[in-house]
C-alpha cells in the first residue's frame, strides 16, 4: 500500500491554545482510517489544516506526493480531496441537485455543467436522496443534510474523502444506512479519513485508527490494538461509559 496522504508534524495554535501540536500520520490508498479522541482533541482543526481551510503554523501536508501545505481550500478540492462538515454547510437556497452539481463542477474532474449534473444525480442516488433532487437544501431534515454533505463531497469524484462526524445526530436506523453508504463509497476505490464519536461504528468501519488527545497523537493501530491500549483507555477515563464501550467492542 502506498501513502495517499501524509501529515507531518502539524502544529496549530489559537492564541495560547495548542489545538494541534506535532501530529504525524499516513493515510494509505484504499483504506478507511478512523480519527478518534475526546472533545477538543483537535480532530476538526486537523481536517481544516489538511484541506486548506486554515494554514498550519508548522509541518507539512503531502497529498498524492505533492506538498499542499497552506494551499487554498479550492485548490485542495481540485487536487482530489473532498470533505464534509461536522456542522452541515448546505447551500441553503439551492436544491439538492444544484448543491451536488457545484461539487461535481469544481471537483477533481473539472466537469462541464451538463456533465456535472449527471454525476450529481448519480451520487444523489448513491446516498439515497434521489426522491429529493428538487427540494431546497434548507428544507432537508438533519439526516438529509448529512447525506447532502456526503453527496456533494462525492460528486467531486475525490481520491480522498474526509468525513467529519457524518453519523452524529442520526437515529440508529439512519446510522445503519449511513454506514452502508460509507462502505459502498470505499468499494468504489475512494480512500476515507473519518472522524466519529460513535465508537461501535468507527471500530467496525475502520481498517486502522489514530487516537488524538489534547492536540497530540496518543495511539495508532488496528481497532483492536487501539481499544486495548492503556493510554487510550486512560484518556477516555474522564468518560467511563465511553471507555467501557471502547473496551467492549471488537
Amino acid at each position: 500500500m502506498t501513502a495517499l496522504l501524509a501529515v507531518e508534524n502539524l502544529r496549530k495554535s489559537f492564541g495560547g491554545v495548542h489545538a494541534v501540536s506535532g501530529v504525524s500520520f499516513v493515510v494509505n490508498e484504499g483504506e478507511i482510517l478512523g480519527l478518534i479522541g475526546p472533545n477538543g482533541a483537535g480532530k476538526s482543526t486537523l481536517f481544516n489544516l489538511i484541506n486548506g481551510v486554515m494554514a498550519p503554523d508548522e509541518g507539512r501536508v503531502i497529498f498524492r506526493g505533492i506538498d499542499i501545505t497552506g494551499e487554498a481550500a479550492y485548490r485542495v478540492a481540485r487536487a482530489g480531496l473532498a470533505r464534509t462538515h461536522q456542522i452541515v454547510q448546505p447551500l441553503a437556497g439551492m436544491d439538492v441537485l444544484e448543491n451536488c452539481t457545484v461539487g461535481a463542477c469544481f471537483g477533481s474532474e473539472n466537469l462541464s455543467i451538463g456533465r456535472a449534473r449527471d454525476v450529481a444525480r448519480e451520487t444523489a442516488v448513491l446516498v439515497g436522496l434521489e426522491d429529493r433532487l428538487t427540494m431546497s437544501a434548507a428544507q432537508l431534515t438533519i439526516a438529509g443534510k448529512k447525506r447532502l454533505e456526503l453527496a456533494r463531497a462525492l460528486s467531486a469524484r475525490p481520491k480522498l474523502l474526509l468525513l467529519d462526524e457524518v453519523l452524529a445526530g442520526l437515529n440508529p436506523t439512519e446510522v445503519e444506512h449511513m454506514i452502508g453508504i460509507i462502505r459502498a463509497i470505499r468499494e468504489r476505490g475512494v480512500t476515507i479519513l473519518i472522524i466519529e464519536h460513535l465508537m461501535q461504528a468507527i471500530m467496525s468501519l475502520s481498517d486502522r485508527i489514530v487516537v488524538l488527545n489534547i492536540g497530540q497523537k496518543l495511539a495508532e493501530g488496528t481497532p483492536a490494538e487501539v481499544a486495548n491500549d492503556p493510554a487510550v483507555i486512560e484518556a477516555y477515563l474522564g468518560d467511563p461509559a465511553l471507555a467501557e464501550e471502547l473496551h467492549g467492542s471488537p
Binding site: R75, A77, L91, T101, I113
Partner: protein, 334 residues
C-alpha cells in the same frame, strides 16, 4: 438554474426554448417600438432613464444577487465610463462606438484590479469599501486637469454631426442604450446558466462552503465585479455623450447606485427578469412620488423605506413572492 436537458444539446437551441429569452426580447421590442409610435420624444427620454436603471440594476445583480456582495458604489463604473468615453471623443477625436467600447474595456480592467483587492473584504466591510472606491475615484477625477477637474468636460455640438445632427443623434444614442440594456439582461442569463454563474451562486449562499467544494472564490468574485463594470461603463459613455457634458458630482452620484440596489431588491435579487421588473415598478413609483403634492420632496425617503420593508419582509423581492405563490413560475421566469 433549471435547464432540463436543453443545456447539453447546445446553448443556442436551448436559449430559444427558454421563456426568459422571449421575455427579454419582448422588453427590448417594447423599448424600440413604443417611442417610435408618433415620434414621442418625451417618452423616449423617460425610457432612457428606465434603460439606465435596468442596465445598472441587472449588473449590480451580478454581484448582489449572484455572489451575495452588496456594491453600493457601482455608479463609479458608469461615471468613469462616461469620462473615458467623453475624453477620448473630445480630446482624442475617437468615434463614439470606439470610445464607448474602450471605456467599457478600460473600466472593466480597472475593476478587475480593484476587485482582487477589495474583495478580500466581506459583508458590511465590502459594502463600505465600494463607497470608498467611488468617493476616491471622484476625488481623483475632480483634481485631474486633463479631465477638466471639478468643472468637468464639455463636448462640442459638432461631435453629433457624424450621427446625422443632434436630433437624429439622440435617437441613435437611445437605440444604443436599449441595445446595452438588452446585452445586460442577456449577460445575466448567460452567466446564470454557466459554470461560472453556478460558482457565483454558491459563493452567494455560503462562501466558505463554496471554497471547500472547489470554487476559486477570489478569482470568481473579481471576475464578477469586473463583468458588472463593462456594460454600465459603456452606458455611462453613451449617456454623457448624450448630455454633451460631464462633471464629477453628476458622474459619481451615489443616489443612482443606491436606487439600483432598491430596484434589484424590489424585483428580486438573483433573478434575470427581476431587475427589469423592479426598474419598471420603481420608475412608476418614482414618477408618481415626484408629481404627488405630498411626497414630491420625499422620493428618496420612500425609496429607503421601501428597501427596508423589502429586506425585512420579502428578501426575495417581487420574483421571490411570485415564486412563493406559484412555485412552477420559477421554471418560466428565471
Amino acid at each position: 438554474m433549471r435547464h432540463g436537458a436543453a443545456q447539453g444539446e447546445g446553448r443556442y437551441a436551448g436559449l430559444f426554448r427558454r421563456p426568459s429569452f422571449w421575455i427579454i426580447a419582448l422588453v427590448i421590442a417594447a423599448f424600440v417600438i413604443a417611442p417610435l409610435i408618433g415620434n414621442d420624444v418625451e417618452m423616449r427620454e423617460s425610457l432612457v432613464l428606465a434603460a439606465i436603471y435596468i442596465i445598472l440594476a441587472s449588473n449590480v445583480n451580478l454581484m448582489l444577487g449572484y455572489a451575495g456582495y452588496v456594491n453600493f458604489g457601482s455608479i463609479v463604473f458608469f461615471g468613469l465610463g462616461g469620462y473615458v468615453c467623453v475624453y477620448l471623443m473630445s480630446a482624442q477625436g475617437w468615434p463614439l462606438a470606439a470610445a464607448a467600447l474602450a471605456a467599457g474595456v478600460a473600466v472593466s480592467l480597472l475593476a478587475l484590479v480593484f476587485g482582487l483587492g477589495i474583495l478580500r473584504l466581506r459583508g458590511a466591510y465590502f459594502a463600505l469599501a465600494t463607497i470608498g472606491v467611488n468617493e476616491a475615484v471622484q476625488a481623483v477625477v475632480a483634481n485631474f486637469n486633463p479631465w477638466g477637474g471639478s468643472a468637468g468636460l464639455y463636448l462640442s455640438p459638432r461631435l453629433f454631426l457624424p450621427l446625422g445632427g443632434a436630433m437624429q443623434a439622440l435617437w441613435v444614442i437611445y437605440f444604443l442604450l436599449v441595445a446595452v440594456m438588452g446585452l445586460s439582461l442577456y449577460l445575466s442569463y448567460v452567466i446564470k446558466s454557466s459554470k461560472f454563474g453556478l460558482g457565483l451562486l454558491a459563493i452567494g449562499q455560503n462562501e466558505d462552503a463554496a471554497a471547500v467544494l472547489g470554487v476559486p472564490t477570489p478569482l470568481f468574485k473579481a471576475l464578477a465585479y469586473s463583468a458588472s463594470a463593462f456594460l454600465p461603463a459603456i452606458a455611462g459613455g453613451l449617456y454623457f455623450f448624450k448630455s454633451a457634458f460631464i462633471q464629477p458630482t453628476d458622474a459619481f452620484d451615489l443616489t443612482l447606485s443606491t436606487e439600483a440596489i432598491v430596484i434589484v431588491m424590489l424585483g428580486g435579487q438573483g433573478t434575470i427578469t427581476g431587475p427589469a421588473l423592479g426598474a419598471y415598478l420603481y420608475e412608476e413609483l418614482r414618477g408618481w412620488l415626484l408629481t404627488s403634492e405630498t411626497f414630491s420632496h420625499f422620493q428618496l425617503v420612500v425609496s429607503g423605506a421601501l428597501l427596508l420593508v423589502i429586506v425585512l419582509f420579502a428578501p426575495g423581492g417581487l420574483m421571490g413572492w411570485l415564486y412563493g405563490r406559484w412555485p412552477r413560475l420559477r421554471k418560466v421566469l428565471e
